[in-house]
Symmetry: C2
Subunit: 203 residues, 2 copies
DNA sequence: CTCCTGTCGTAACAGACGTTACGGTAACAT
DNA sequence: ATGTTACCGTAACGTCTGTTACGACAGGAG
């Protein structure tokens, strides 16, 4: 009939191009032409795969969410203990290397873009609430005897800290090197009584 | 000689217009025309006061930084104790009402814009480092017997938590109501042993 | 009053933008 | 081999962008 093209792979490649432009040139220069150039094609292909720029951005946002979720699930599955799982899952959200630093910049870019796009902000909220629920579950597993309210407060403190640290480190890698972020996370987990080293008796 | 116009006031009004557009329409719609419309003037005045769009954005960024610094200094000056100062200063960084929520959106917008503007990112870094140094000083005053490294780790955990919470709450006010943010902050300060309620003996 | 200097609205410019239309091309079915 | 259908590069469209140029206007100085 017609020749076969891997549409999903093309869409993923274009989404990666969106991440590249967003991370290296910023939201203001995130044009269809720039994405096409980063993907090594022309605007013809981009507009053939997506009805418009909005749909392209939304697909790229969705794919980023799925990517991080897969990474988190793998970390959680492979963790030797609930507290290790909590620590590893939070750790992956930091900006510790070039890739995660890039991801954090892209995350901020999408958040800024969501101001002008109702569906983007809705996607952010859905993903963020799932993320929060996950960390609450991990905190609950790491501290089974805690009251629900304490689990909620601590989980919130942890996810906001991780996200804020990633944003700070992405914007100023020199001032926030990986070691500083890791020590910050360790200090927080220890303070909350969620460190793996020695179990705290209670809060 | 010539008629007198309050240039500083005009620049401030235009900067407020930048904040308005950035917070309500987002970075992508932050055009010179939109700023002029929000300020109730035309592009003629905008381009008469600023050499170009970049300078307008940078001035607005600078003014936002000075605004929050003034607020923080007042809070710090009026605080009854070092621990109250720390708590109040961190609290003002949260997104607890419409104004601070708006400020947080604007902050994210400027951070996203800084990807494409070397001077904006440099301004962010300078302001952020000053902010970090301030909180480190406040933590040191609130816990005089701590080691320098501990002060640094805890201060970093606190500022990243506050910034992350503001961003989350601005993007999803329903899921992150003021009470949740305040409880999160209280829980963190208590966990770190920086609560005002009862002095912790040591970390 | 008459300059005259700074103010700022109006209008236009070139370029970049998202989007549409079209056509050459390549691969599959027959 | 030939027809057919989807693919996608090319080019154009109208719109919107930052920026420039110009001129009308206002108010202190002489």
């Amino acid at each position: 009939m017609t020749r076969i093209v891997d549409k999903k792979a093309q869409e993923a490649a274009l989404s990666r191009a969106v991440w590249d432009v967003l991370g290296q040139q910023g939201l203001e220069r995130l044009t269809v032409r720039a994405v096409a150039a980063a993907a090594g094609c022309t605007t013809g292909l981009v507009m053939h795969r997506f009805p418009n720029r909005q749909a392209l951005l939304r697909h790229a946002r969705q794919l980023l969410h799925e990517k991080t979720r897969a990474r988190v699930e793998a970390l959680e599955r492979d963790a030797p203990s609930p507290r290790a799982a909590l620590r590893d899952v939070l750790r992956q959200g930091l900006a510790l290397d070039a890739e995660t630093r890039h991801e954090s910049i892209v995350w901020v870019g999408f958040l800024a873009a969501a101001v002008a796009d109702d569906e983007l902000i809705e996607m952010h909220r859905a993903g963020n609430r799932a993320w929060r629920a996950r960390v609450e579950r991990l905190v609950g597993a790491a501290a089974p005897d805690w009251a629900e309210a304490d689990v909620s407060d601590v989980a919130l403190g942890l996810i906001t800290m991780a996200e804020g640290a990633a944003a700070f480190a992405a914007a100023d890698p020199v001032a926030y090197p990986p070691a500083a972020q890791e020590q910050m996370l360790t200090a927080a987990l220890t303070a909350y009584g969620l460190s793996e080293e020695r179990r705290s008796l209670s809060r």
